[in-house]
Structure formats: structure tokens, C-alpha cells
Amino acid sequence: MNDTLANTEKKTAYILTLPAVLLVFSIILFPIFANIWISFKEVELKDIRIPEPRAKKIVKSISDEPTKIKILYKLRNSSLIQEIRDVSFQDNFPKNFEIENLDPRCSYEKYNLKCEFGNWPAKYRENFQVIFATNDGSNIDKKNLKSIKPKLDGKSDNILLNTNFTLKNFKKVLFENEFIDLLLTTFYYTFFGTVGSIVFGILTAQMVNQKFYGRTFMRSVLLFPYVAPVVALAYTWELLLDPNSGTLNSLLLNYQVIETPINLLGQKYIEISILGFDFKLRLALTTVIMFEIWRYFPLAFLFILARLQAIPKELYEAADVDGASPFQKFFNITLPQITAVISILFMIRFIWNFNKFEDVFLLTGGASGTRTLPINVYQQGFAISDIGMGSAVSIVIVVLLLIFMFFYFKLLGKRVDEN
């Protein structure tokens, strides 16, 4: 009895979870394997469209003969590079139609025109014409005739399914793609974006954790950048930072802070001298990182605030009795209490920033030294149309992330052991 109960429970569980598991599997896990497969192939964007036989039907009336009609099919192979084999053609006609000139490749039975066109090479085109007459002498309705669509069928190779593999893509990614530069840019972007958002998150959480008028309102305002659509925010920032008529540059010019406008999103380097040392700052990258911090510190804020509110008040009361200063309280009570949250946040934000595509894409499109790895996936795959290369870059991203996670957890594990 017990056994059958457990069995029905199992069955129910599988029925309940199956739809979700199948969907997630087919849309997330399967593509990851497909990605590995594609990254070892030489595939271009134009290769992935399956070649189709197409026919455009043009109906022409013949002058002085209302009972006759000429039908022209403009046949073509949609692909510019692949042939289609065994093309078959079918079209239906009204029940009073008789064919006048039958092509040797075709047959006409039961008002159904069937043709076998054989193989079509790439770019193949043909004008195929038939003439019909009604057998009862009635006039022909052109509209009705046009609304019947011909059916075409054919076989072609799918370049994705053959087993020609190559290491060319990975060779290109690692050696011909300014890989070191890409990696460094991605690393700067990820690291400073993550650290910045966590630092601002700590500051704001500490701030909102105190009592002041309008605190709940402040909490929602702080989350605005995180919940608003990235498209809207990126274009607003772009306008704000525009060198010609952007608000920020105009303000700075107006208050004589700068003499010429700065192109914050379009200039790769800016030279800064501090205390006599000249160094180059990657300007566009810094701006993009600023946007990143601005948009994602709310998440850190939310997490850290939740943690701060869970710290027992007695700890602070005891510290007050001992005469601790506000800074001592912060460094000796608050900070140790939030390190766990911070380490989780660091990992989450690091992974997500490493894969961040939209923000950089919308702000700079990867120009002026802001080309990160995810941007490169898009550029290789869709701008240069080399799907195989794009796939290879994304595989590199996954491998780098796995390495990061491995070391991060190892380090974290060590620290936990020490404590």
C-alpha cells in the first residue's frame, strides 16, 4: 500500500514538473550544447537560412479571349549558395479549367497541376508559363485564381547538421581577435562595475537604514534605475552626455569648469595629470562603467539593506555603552555582518556584468575602447555575419566564467574554514 502511494506521488511529481523541465531544457540547455557544436563549424549568417523553392504567381488575361487565361510562375531558389534537389510543384484550379499547353515535366489531373522540376542550383530562376481555357465557355475570375497559392517542396543540405568540424574559430578568437585587449576591457568593465555598485550599495543602505523623513519614498527612488527599461535609460544618458548639445557638457561649459566639450562616450583616452604624473584614462569605458554602477547599485542596496535591518539592535546598544564612535560601530559591527551578503553580491554581479550586453551596446555600440566579450559575440555573429566565430567567443565566455566560479568558491571555502 505504502509503495503504491509513493509511486503515485512520484508519477504526479513527474507530470507536474515535466512541462517546465522540457521547456527550460529545449530553450536553455539544448542551445548551450548547440553553441558548442556551432563553434566548431564554419558557418555564416547566410548559410543558416534553409534554401526554399519559391514561386510567384502572376495571372494575365489574354486580350479578346475572356475564356482563356495565361498564368506565369516566377520560380526561383531562395538561396544564393545552396542547391535544392527534387523540387516538386503543385497548384489547384477551378473545376472548369482545361490546360492548353502541358510542359513535359508536368501532369494535369483532376484540376491539379503537378510538376517535377528536378534539381535547382543556387540562384536558379525560371519563368514557367501555362495557359488555361474554361471548358464551359464561362469568364474567368482572376481574383479567385490568384488567391490559390502553389505548393513547392524540395530537399537541401542543412549546413548545421553535417559533421565537418574545424578549430579555425577558436584559433581566430584567441590569436587574431585582439583577444588580450578584449579580455582586459571586459575585466575592467566587470570588476569596476561590480565593486562600484557594491560600494554605492553599502553607502545608500547605510543611509536609508537611518530614520529620516521620506525614507520609504527614498527607498523606491533608489530602485528606479534598476526597474526602468534599459533602452530608455541608455538613450537618456546618451543625450545627457552628448558633446554638442548635451546637458552635462553645456552645464560644465556654462560654469566654466571646462573650456571645450568632452565627448564622454566617443573618446577612447583622456590625459589627466595629477600631482605632475600624466596618465591616460579610458574615458568612454569609464563612462560606461559609471552607467553600469548607476543602474545596478540599487540591487546591492536592496540586499544590504535587508541584511542591515536584520542586525540585532543590542549590538549597537552595547557598543554605545562602551563608548564606540560611529565609525568604529560601522567598521566593527556593521561591516562584519554584511560580508556574507557582499560576497554573494560580488559573485552575482561579477557574472552578470561579465555577460552584460545591452548597456554597452546601446551606449557606444562597442566603439571607442568599450568592446567587451559579449559585444564581440554580437559583432562577430551579426555584424561580420560569422556565426561560428560568434559561437566560439560565447564559448570562451562560458569557460572563463566557469574558471572564475571555481576559484571564487575555492577562495570562499578557504575563508570559511579559517573562521
Partner: protein, 397 residues
Amino acid sequence: MRTKNTILFSLISTFFLIFLISIWKILATLQGLSINSFNIEIIFIFGLLISLAHLGIGDKIKSIYKSIIFSAIFVFCDGYLIQKLPIWYNVGVFLILYFFTNKISKYTFIGLKEEHSTQVILFDFLTLFGILFFSFVILFPFYMMLVTSFKTQIALLVNPLDFSINFGQDIKDLFKSYFVIFKSYKFGKYIVISTIVSVGTVIITLLFAIPAAYAVARLNFFGKTFLSTSILIIYMFPAIVLVIPLYTIFSQLGLRNSIEGLLIVYTATTLPVAIYMLQGYFKSIPKELEEAAILDKLSWFGIITKIIIPLSIPAISSVALYVFMIAWNEFLFSLMFLDNPNSFTLSRAIQYLSGDAETPRQYLMAGSVVVTLPVLFIFVYFEKYLVSGLTAGSVKG
């Protein structure tokens, strides 16, 4: 000790005053006033004098009179004698000064003798500074987005700093950008598509997630722990890695440029977090209720629809809102999968609009307002639900 604290106090409060006045000046500049300098030196001297005078006078005058007197003096000297600006600007300065003097009125000579008083002062002012700074930095782009959508291209090019809106003009002129994007750029259609996609994603996600979450929360089966741990790991998988294979597969299946294609992808990417959030809540529902239901011979379908769903309305709404926002804001997949203007979502439509360099910026900003407003409205209205959702589902980048 006292001297040091006094000096520190006056310096910190002065810097705070400079910051307040500077923000006010920036805002005033953006209303078309021509102010070309922050006059930091003058405000610095005044601020220092006010804080020292405040300490010196102490309790001899009632603090409200003190505040009014200080503010009036400041406004008279700075606004009337030096800058000669319109009255509304000076009223603003007066209110800022009044706020400022009120803030410093709780510090007294005696208080400055206490231990750590500099740190306390620093903390107090840093908090105040932080509140104002972050409000300004966060709200300013939103303010700019809204205001720009009401301006015209020429006005913006002539004076990029003049953000004042002429409310006196005809309502048709005021909302011209909105009329244009709805008429010429078919934004009405895009709103409908975005709504269908987002609401559809919510419905399908819930349909799939509720049974799965129930199974994970309640039933025992082989592979359960594996399933529940892999849910979050799958969710961490970057979307950019999925884009190329999904693009190729969707191209071959003819799912590109279709709402169905987007629905499938959005549902699959939001499912893991929806299951994760729901199963946590389902676990907190007392088991006794279900045991009673099993005795009544209710099937699992009955248990879910009659017991679990009515009891977890808060969690379900939180998941629904969260998924709605993800789907509404999504950009990467809509960029990859949609290239026919007839099937654009709002985000994709705005990006398409910006691709044309000729598009006036006020249209772009009007579109941005249209896509942002629903989300912000939902967020503010349902904040309580959403914050718990955001914390649980925060792995979404």
C-alpha cells in the same frame, strides 16, 4: 578639543550649504536663468559666518527667529546685491537657508564638547548629503527624459540648458512628440505587442511554474534535489550565450519575427526564478490543509487550484509582477529576433527609432517615457510585493 570641533563643524556645514545652493543653481539654470558662476567663495564665507554666529548666539534668540534672520540676510546679500535674479530663485534660496539653519540648530557649543561629536556631525551631514546627492543623480535623467519630450528640436539646439516648459501653449503643441510617435511611428501597435508579450509571458510562466514549484516543495521523487539546485544554476546562465544558437534554430523554424518565438524564450528564461520563488512560499503553507484535502479525495489538480493558489496569492502576484517587468524591459532577444517593424516590441521600436540619425531627440525621449511610465507606475504602486520579488529573484542582471 572644542576649538577643533567648532572648526570642523563649521567647515562641514558650510560645504553642505555650498552643495545645496549649487544644486539649486543648476536647477535654476535649467529653467533658463543665466547663472554663470557658483560663487563658491562668497557662499563659503557666508556659510562659515552663519554657522559660527549660530554657535555664538546659542539660545539667546528663539531658533525660528534666528533661522529667519540668517536666511533673510543671506538672501539679501547674495541674491539681491550680488546676483540680481528673479524673485522665485531668491524664495528658493531663502527656503534652502531656512532648512539649513534648522538643521544646524541642534548643534550647540556644549554638544561639541562631547566625545566623537565630530564623527556624529560628519555622519549626520553625510547622510543628508547622500540623500540629496542620490536623489539628484537618480532623478535627474528621468526628469530630463520627461522634459525633453515636451521640447522642440530647435529650442533644444538653441539653448540646451533651457528646460522650462511653456504650459501656455496649445495642448497639441505641448504633446506634439507623443502625437507624432503614435501616428507616424505606430507606437500604439508596439504598446499592444509589448503588452501581449509581457502578459502572455506572465500567464504561461505561472501555468508552468505553479505545478512544478508545488512538486518541488511538497512531493518526494527521484531527482528532486538535482532539480531544485539546477534551477538557480540554469538561471545564472548568460543570455548572450543562448543568442546565437537560438537565432539559428529560430531562423530555421521560422519563429523569428513572431510573438510566439518571443513568448517561448521569455517564458523559458523566467521559469527558473519563478519556480524558485514560488516553491519557497509553498513550503511555508501548513501541510495539514493538504492532508485534509487528500482525505477528501481531492486530486493534485484540486489541491493546487483549491488550496495552494488561494493561499499564495501574495507570492503569485509578486512573481507575476516581477516576470512582467522582465518581459517588458527585455531588449537582447527582441533585438536579435525581431527585424520586421510590424512585430517590434516597444524597446526594439525605440532602438530602431534611434538608428535613424535624423530622428529628433524629443521623439526618442517621448518613446522612452512611454516605455518607462508603465513600469515605474507598477513599481511604485506594488512596491511591497515587488521588493520581495526583487530580493528573491535578484540574480537577473
